[in-house]
């Protein structure tokens, strides 16, 4: 038990001290998570909307592909991105390998299918007739799309949260394309791997506590938003 108590003490001390090194790790973690979630939304949400809201040839194939992409192990994505960005790879000349940008690219590829797949499911649960109703009141295609997203917003928020969660807790892909370089590409998860390997369980666990605190806080915020939304819709105010 002592090792856990020691770890928690270390975590508190680390956060209280706020060493530049720690803040750098947290900073990089958030930078990668925010950038990749944002691009994940930009790529995944419209795709999810189209898959969920319209009927077209090849739709079910696309949905199956998305669901498969959601389940691809991060290390495989990391491997592919690594090969593309490596010196011999097609994007080698950009010199992105072992940079924060490389990590953001890999994590975007992880977040986008998750956001697309879950957005699609949320949007598909909005009845077609509701959109027909909006159309009958004069809505254009764009109005219809916004209304549908608004109707499905609790599900869409959950999709974004799931995308963010996958990115912030991911280790395989960032380790491969980022290289866990101290002060540059080290994030909380890769730092945990590093410290654990060195036998510094206290520091590793402390970093884990910090990571959990951050994700817990964020998820708590999202859950609160969803509950507040549902409560109002179902009439706790009436």
């Amino acid at each position: 038990m002592a090792v856990f108590i020691e770890a928690i003490v270390t975590a508190v001390r680390l956060m209280a001290e706020g060493s530049p090194e720690l803040w750098n790790i947290i900073g990089v973690t958030f930078h990668v998570a925010l950038v990749s979630t944002t691009f994940g939304i930009v790529l995944g949400a419209p795709m999810g909307f189209v898959m969920g809201a319209s009927r077209f040839r090849g739709r079910s194939v696309l949905i199956a592909l998305t669901n498969t992409a959601m389940a691809v192990p991060p290390v495989v994505i990391g491997l592919v991105v690594m090969m593309v960005l490596s010196r011999q790879g097609p994007l080698g000349p950009l010199g992105l390998l072992y940079t924060v940008d490389a990590m953001s690219i890999a994590q975007t590829l992880i977040a986008a299918p998750i956001i697309a797949g879950l957005t699609s499911a949320a949007v598909a649960s909005v009845p077609y007739k509701l959109r027909l109703q909006a159309r009958s009141l004069g809505a254009s295609r764009v109005h219809e799309a916004f209304l549908t997203l608004k109707e499905a917003r609790l599900g869409v928020v959950a999709a974004v949260a799931a995308g963010f969660g996958a990115v912030v807790r991911g280790v395989g892909a960032v380790l491969m394309v980022g290289g866990n370089i101290e002060g540059q590409t080290r994030v909380l998860t890769t730092a945990i791997v590093q410290e654990a390997r060195r036998g510094d369980f206290g520091l590793a666990l402390a970093l884990g506590v910090i990571l959990m605190t951050i994700t817990f806080g964020l998820n708590g915020l999202i859950t609160w938003y969803q509950h507040a939304g549902e409560r109002w819709e179902r009439g706790a105010n009436a």
């Binding site: 509701l130 109703q133 009958s136 009141l137 004069g138 809505a139 254009s140 109707e151 819709e233 009439g235």
Partner: protein, 376 residues
């Protein structure tokens, strides 16, 4: 434009509209016409294509072929200007998440109406549908009847040229339904709005509509003024659907001072109308206009000109009434009789009764389709 001059004066018209899903033809209608302020009921069993026709008339779906005209102008689903002149409410109210006011104001917002005008219009229309002061409530907390009122308000507030109502009352319980159908009929008529009203309930159609199309398997089985279609359905299927017997076929034998004698191949019924003797006709009388008396009793003197000795051929329950099929010497008419009357008069299959109905209750139309058959 000269090609469409015949549509002048009509608010909404559709020509030769058809729609198929795969190989199944769900709609094939020659023409639909609505004068300004007219309410047209689309009546028929489920799957008859009523909602599809409504969606096409409302420019919500594209027909495979055919053309819709709004005020004489050909329009399509792409024509947002035309769509802006229409508004619909469906069987399920499909309220959007948000407040009642947001729901009702949705269409106004799309039309760029200012915030101040929006809230004034919303307050006014909510008052009219009986939900005055409900603006701030969440739309998802409402009961079925309340939600349907909001759905109607959301369409009405736009003051549309054409109002489309797709079974707006069918998901409600009978008490709320009867109250709302009266409210809807009043509001529609007050505003003199051109309205298409889809329903499978003939009583609802009677309450709100001026004209009707009875639909079957995507086609119009009957169309015309509500009184005409209900009074004299053109064929057996329509008659059965509307709760009467198949139309009677006969020949006008006498015609004097607006009174026609029609020989039905045995019995002669009297009707009002102006038709030359020798004209082949179809004739019908609504079951609720046919009165029964026990055989042998003295019938009080009345203006009812048609009196026959009849036999009960069949009786079955029809809502709260009994639907009786009566043979009057070779021709068949139906009568709706209360349960207590059936009990008191001890009516059963084979019972003899006196059948009485007024000449004004008998509808007669020249028989276009069947005249050849009669002569054969």
């Amino acid at each position: 434009m000269t090609a469409y001059t015949s549509t002048a004066g009509l608010a909404l018209r559709a020509e030769n509209v058809s729609k198929s899903y795969g190989k199944r033809v769900v709609l094939d209608i020659d023409h639909v016409e609505l004068s300004p302020g007219e309410t047209l009921a689309l009546l028929g069993p489920s799957g008859a294509g009523k909602s599809t026709l409504l969606a096409i008339l409302g420019l919500l779906e594209k027909p495979d072929s055919g053309q819709v005209f709004l005020d004489g102008r050909p329009v399509s689903a792409r024509d947002r200007g035309a769509r802006m002149q229409m508004a619909a409410a469906f069987q399920s109210p499909y309220l959007f998440k948000g407040t009642i006011a947001e729901n009702v104001a949705y269409g106004l917002k799309l039309r760029g109406v200012s915030r101040a005008k929006r809230s004034a219009a919303v307050a006014e229309v909510l008052e009219r549908v009986g939900l005055g002061g409900w603006e701030g409530r969440s739309a998802l907390t409402l009961s079925g009847g309340e939600a349907q009122r909001v759905a109607l308000a959301r369409a009405l507030v736009l003051k549309p040229r054409v109002l489309l109502l797709d079974e707006p009352l069918s998901s409600l319980d009978p008490l709320i339904k009867s109250r709302l159908s009266q409210d809807f009929a009043r509001i529609i008529h007050e505003d003199k709005m051109t309205t298409v009203y889809v329903t499978h309930d003939q009583n609802e159609a009677m309450a709100v509509a001026d004209s009707m199309i009875v639909m079957r398997d995507g086609r119009a089985a009957a169309s015309g003024h509500v009184e005409d279609v209900m009074g004299l359905p053109p064929d057996e299927w329509t008659a059965t659907f509307l709760g009467s017997e198949a139309p009677l076929r006969g020949v006008v034998t006498t015609s004097a001072e607006g009174l026609l004698g029609v020989d039905l191949g045995g019995p002669v019924v009297y009707s009002t109308g102006e038709l030359a003797p020798g004209t082949h006709v179809i004739a019908g009388v609504r079951p609720e206009d046919v009165l029964l008396f026990e055989a042998g009793t003295e019938i009080p003197r009345s203006s009812a000109r048609n009196r026959f000795d009849g036999t009960v051929v069949a009786l079955r329950l029809w809502g709260v009434m009994y639907h009786l099929v009566l043979d009057i010497g070779g021709a068949r008419v139906a009568s709706h009789v209360s349960r207590s009357s059936v009990r008191e008069m001890e009516i059963a299959e084979g019972s003899s009764v006196q059948v009485v109905f007024k000449a004004t209750a008998v509808r007669v139309r020249p028989d276009v389709a069947g005249s050849g058959m009669m002569e054969a």
